[in-house]
């Protein structure tokens, strides 16, 4: 199966300035996050995949279709929610989404039906006949999402979807994105500088810095590893015996000061067993927690790398 996106030495220049520098990657996650500080090239990468910018060198493929030679086909697979306000003034919400669906190739009747559905889906059913210019910022974001999904794309580009949203609106937007992701009908690429958004929605993350790929990680893999990585704090005389017993069960351990122990548990071993062994050794487990904030760690490490590459 073709990867969702394949970057093959992709370079984009604006005049003499290189914005994307020979990017090479193969992304095949269901939900892919594009992370990076402002100006890292996230939006430029999305715009290039959409054919708005011509690559100076290299190319990229979306579901195996070359963006240089099959741009139209590529765009027919994509739904795009841009970062900035984007709408047609004076048009009602449902009219606007219908127009966008028709431009994507849907017949009139289907486009109208899908526009209504999309508006209900994003929670704007009651205001779908109101002029777009009168929508609040949160409503405009939802309307942009509606137009991006109305034609049933295979790949959804979400450029800073939570920009300017208040906490409830943000939570609603994230929930929508998670629902779309979990249905499994389409892949999505979420570009953001907010780690939390990406962490909540994505299973793969590409971190860009100064037009380079600074890091690429599989969050799902990281999460699985993190679930096996424990930090515990113990009290009791037989700490050494407890550590030995855990090692016999296949755990990798590192004992620290004041009864602190780091453990990587093998697959198949449940946390419950830890408590059982502790009880057998007469050791109290006072605190236990899974490793957290892995994305933040990865992001900070990527940002610290001097040349933009890990």
């Amino acid at each position: 199966m073709d990867p969702v996106i394949e970057l093959d030495g992709l370079e984009v220049r604006f005049g003499t300035r290189a914005i994307l520098k020979k990017l090479k990657a193969s992304l095949d996650g269901r939900a892919i996050g594009l992370l990076g500080p402002n100006g890292a090239g996230k939006s430029t990468l999305l715009n290039t995949l959409l054919g708005f910018h011509k690559p100076g060198a290299g190319t990229a493929r979306v579901f195996g279709r070359d963006i240089r030679t099959q741009a139209r086909e590529v765009r027919s697979l994509i739904g795009y929610m841009p970062e900035n306000d984007a709408f047609i003034a004076g048009m009602s919400g449902v009219h606007f989404v219908r127009l966008m669906a028709e431009l994507a190739g849907l017949p009139r009747a289907d486009a109208l039906e899908r526009a209504h559905e999309a508006f209900f889906y994003v929670g704007l059913g009651e205001v779908r006949y109101r002029t777009l210019g009168t929508y609040s910022l949160g409503m405009k974001q939802s309307a942009k999402l509606a137009q991006a999904i109305a034609h049933g794309p295979k790949l959804l580009f979400l450029d800073e979807p939570t920009n300017g949203l208040d906490p409830p609106a943000r939570a609603r937007m994230i929930q929508l994105i998670q629902e779309i992701r979990d249905r499994g009908d389409l892949h999505l690429i979420l570009s953001s500088h907010l780690l939390r958004d990406v962490e909540e929605c994505c299973d793969q993350v590409l971190i860009l810095k100064d037009g380079n790929i600074a890091a690429f990680c599989n969050l799902e893999e990281e999460r699985r590893l993190n679930r096996r990585f424990l930090e515990i704090e113990t009290r009791g005389e037989a700490n050494g015996c407890f550590v030995e017993a855990m090692e016999k069960l296949g755990c990798e351990t590192a004992a620290g000061a004041q009864g602190r122990i780091k453990l990587i548990m093998p697959d198949g071993l449940e946390v419950r067993r830890l408590y059982e062994i502790a009880a057998e050794q007469n050791v109290q487990i006072r605190r236990l927690h899974h490793k957290r904030d892995s994305l933040e760690d990865i992001f900070l490490k990527a940002m610290e790398a001097t040349n933009g590459r890990l």
Binding site: F14, G15, R17, S43, N47, L50, G51, F52, H53, R72, E73, R75, S76, I78, Y80, P82, N84, D85, A86, F87, I88, A89, G90, M91, H95, L99, M100, E102, L103, A104, G105, L106, P107, D110, E113, R114, H116, E117, F120, Y121, G125, Q147, I149, H151, G152, K154, F157, E179, I180, R183, D185, L186
Partner: protein, 300 residues
Amino acid sequence: MAVYKKTYRPYEGGLTAPLTRFLVIPRYAFEELHRSRFLTFFFLATYIYPLICALIIYVQHNASALSLLGVQGANRLISINVVFFMGFLGWQSMLALFLAAFAGPGQISPDLANNALSLYLARPFSRLEYVLGKISVLVILLSLMTWIPGLLLFSLQGYLEGWDWMTANARLASGIFLGAWVWIIVLSLLALALSAWVKWKPAAGALMFGVFFVAAGFGATVNAVQRTKWGHLLNISNLIGSVWVELFQGANKTTSGTVFFRVPEGQELPLWCCCSALAALCAVCLYMLARKIRGAEVVR
């Protein structure tokens, strides 16, 4: 699926033909234009003159109608000839300029002001199709008020006068058709280019008149100061008038143009100069459109 089932589902139906997809734009644009009462009334008012012309043609061929009006000799006063049809095209074309100035600026500027271009162009829809869609709004409107009623009048006259008249005056029909198209293309491209560069609609409309009238005034000043005739190159209506004279009359020139589009006697420019100036104007407009119609603006 009913809308109450609030869930996402992929689209599995058929798609429209890609080649005709640009026609979605004029359909929505006409709905929008129709909402403006002023434009609707103005458009309907542009049919007054063609109706008067049709009446003249009818009355001229109807002796009983003339006697009823008590003007038996009137058919000798108004001749249905090249001057009649050029006059019709000149009058309608001037109204077309006003319509293009009212309807043209609203085509692209709102899309640019609200960043909607990225939404259009993120679909399987090219920049060329976008421009074609937008220009077809003006082309359809302006055709409906210039060459289509013009050819209907020609057909009416031919029907009443006979086949011989039609064959002998076939150049009039081609003049109406081609002359109107030259004007429509120039007007439409200019209106779209200004709409793409000036985001404020009233300013874009005013600039449209400015390009015609201020440039013509400047050209006249150049002529007066430099004692030359080349200032007419800045006068678009003169350029169009020269092309029309050629299209309607060829080598047998009997008039020097028509109302609003008349070139002063003795100051005619060579035809190739007029055509080149119009082609250059169209090229500039296309360049302006190419610079602005982009999915994403590049800040270098």
